[in-house]
Amino acid sequence: MRHRVQGALVPAVILTPCLGVTTMQTKLKPPAAGIAGTTLSQRERFRSEQRRLCRRILVRYDLYLMLLIPVAWYLIFQYGPMYGVQIAFKNFQPAKGIVGSPWVGVDNFERFFSSYYFGRLLWNTISISLYSLLFSFPIPILLALLINEIRSQSFKKWLQNVTYIPHFISVVVIVGMLQLFLGAQTGFINVLLHAAGAEKIAFLNSGEWFKTVFIGSNIWQNMGWQSIIYIAALSGINPQLYEAAKMDGASRFHRIWHVSIPGILPIIIILLILDVGHFMNIGFEKILLMQNNLNKDASDVIQTFIYTNGILKGDFGYTSAIGLFNSVINFALLILINRFARKKAETSLW
């Protein structure tokens, strides 16, 4: 095994920037120090700190080597697109590339805001997200509270394990199942309705039902999985709190209200913030699968519009602008809710 402090082993790539910093600093430092009237010993101390930092970096050069590929990946596949998003302000021509295409200012955005679809897209995106927050968000919490109240340990485990299962089914299969159950002609539910003499309902082929079916199936698929975190938080609540509440004559409902819920409130707030942070892109892959011409007035959201017009029709500049609009709103919402939570509830992401 080699000793870890071995200057000769350090690759030049990592050495150079480090040396660069020191030389640059020493060049800059003397005049500045002269003006401020710094003594020699202070300068010395600064330089020795520099040297110490450099040494700390050099000694751990192999940690940076490990980070090399992941960081390159982040630069290319995460920050590359952020650089490329400049085509939102350009008339993108594939032949000229990202940098070569001419700037057009905010034309793409104006085109989107004045487009016939703008109102519909924005409304559908916001309403689906809002309904999801209203209905999908509280249900896992209720489920966790319910599971927490079950006394039989084995039944508790059972219920938990069963409710997790749908989480592992793919979106494609879920939408396939929706077709099989709710299809207009052959769907099981419609067959039953027909047999009972009722009118068949076009669950999947009408805008009216789209949001209900979408959110309902989301709840079915994810409530168990999302409850895990709350169940964990509930099991961390000090049992003495429950005992004390019982002594004071609190009913079980009161104990849930005054002990359980306050106990998991910080987790609820964190998850709410995270959900709001994805407000504008809720489950668009599933929406895309469920979308057809008959329900488009309710199912056309910003992300599916980007897919059809960008990937399928090749209108890259325009759809990049729409995507940027979406990301910026998302990010703004995240910052707002985080600030709000920090002020009001003293819980926040950062």
Partner: protein, 299 residues
């Protein structure tokens, strides 16, 4: 419900009863669709269509499965998905570990900056189209790499793994090995990883299920049908063809046998596609849950 409850405040018994009734309802709501699909895949399609079959198979038949067996696209899809899942998960594991370990080291200068840059991508991204252009620019479109490289790291998983390294492996062990002259690479492969089996299991499961179930990247990056993963093949059969059937059948009621069989093939396909994940589920769900718990700790 049980003896402990007997001596409690009067509302205890009713409360328990209510809890169990609601729990039973939830069990039924979650399980029924799954059991229905399973039974329908083994049933005579006529019985399924007419609503005769509602829980257990009626007119038991394996016809649908036999039909799928001859369906080449499904097996090509299966093979492709296996390849993408294996290769993809291996790369995920490698890159996530390589990033998570150094970032878990509190003595690494620049770690906070890197963490910030990485976490930032969770909340802000260039968007679908610029990402597509990057992948296209690297000539990955229509190759298997398009399904493996662009999602080589999931930031959330990276943070989970880093949190584990930071909280579950004592710094003293690492420090001692470093003082003994162990290199960081050796430390990672010989000490950290053997101590990290639980988190590695969690990562394998998260990533593998993700690969197995994903369809969207394949949808945008692949043109060649030979490369289609299972989920895309399923999409064609379960969802796209559904509208075709509707177009053909319209409102007429005389559904011929072929269409009936097509319906029961769908049930069987759902089973065939979900079975690998669901079979391993009982054995590994503990690990999944553990992953969520680790992830919920603030790093």
């Amino acid at each position: 419900m049980n003896n402990k409850a007997a001596g409690r405040i009067s509302d205890g018994k009713w409360f328990d009863a209510g809890i169990y009734v609601i729990s039973a309802l939830i069990l039924i709501v979650v399980l029924y669709p799954l059991l229905f699909v399973l039974s329908a895949s083994f049933s005579d399609p006529v019985k399924v269509m007419s609503g005769d079959m509602w829980l257990l198979p009626k007119g038991f038949t394996m016809e649908a499965y036999k039909e799928i067996f001859n369906y080449d696209a499904v097996w090509t899809g299966y093979r492709n998905t296996l390849i993408y899942t294996t290769a993809g998960t291996l790369l995920n594991l490698l890159l996530t570990t390589l990033a998570a370990y150094p970032l878990s080291r509190k003595d690494l200068p620049g770690r906070n900056l890197l963490m910030f840059l990485i976490t930032f991508t969770m909340f802000f991204s260039g968007g679908l189209i610029p990402t597509y252009l990057v992948v296209k620019g690297l000539a990955l479109v229509n190759t298997i790499w398009a399904l493996i490289i662009p999602n080589a790291i999931a930031t959330y998983n990276l943070i989970v793994m880093r949190t584990y390294f930071q909280n579950s492996i004592p710094w003293e062990i690492q420090e001692a090995s470093l003082i003994d002259g162990c290199s960081n690479f050796r430390l990672l492969t010989h000490i950290i990883l053997p101590l990290s089996k639980p988190i590695l299991a969690v990562m394998v499961l998260y990533y593998a299920v993700g690969h197995w179930n994903s369809f969207f990247n394949a949808l945008i990056y692949l043109r060649n049908q030979e490369l289609y993963p299972l989920q895309l093949v399923l999409r064609e059969i379960l969802i796209v063809s559904q509208s075709n059937i509707l177009d053909q059948a319209g409102s007429t009621f005389g559904m011929d046998e072929k269409l009936l069989l097509a319906e029961s093939i769908k049930y069987a396909l759902i089973i065939v596609a979900s079975v690998p994940v669901l079979i391993m589920y009982p054995f590994v769900q503990r690990h999944f849950v553990k992953g969520v718990m680790i992830g919920s700790l603030k790093g």
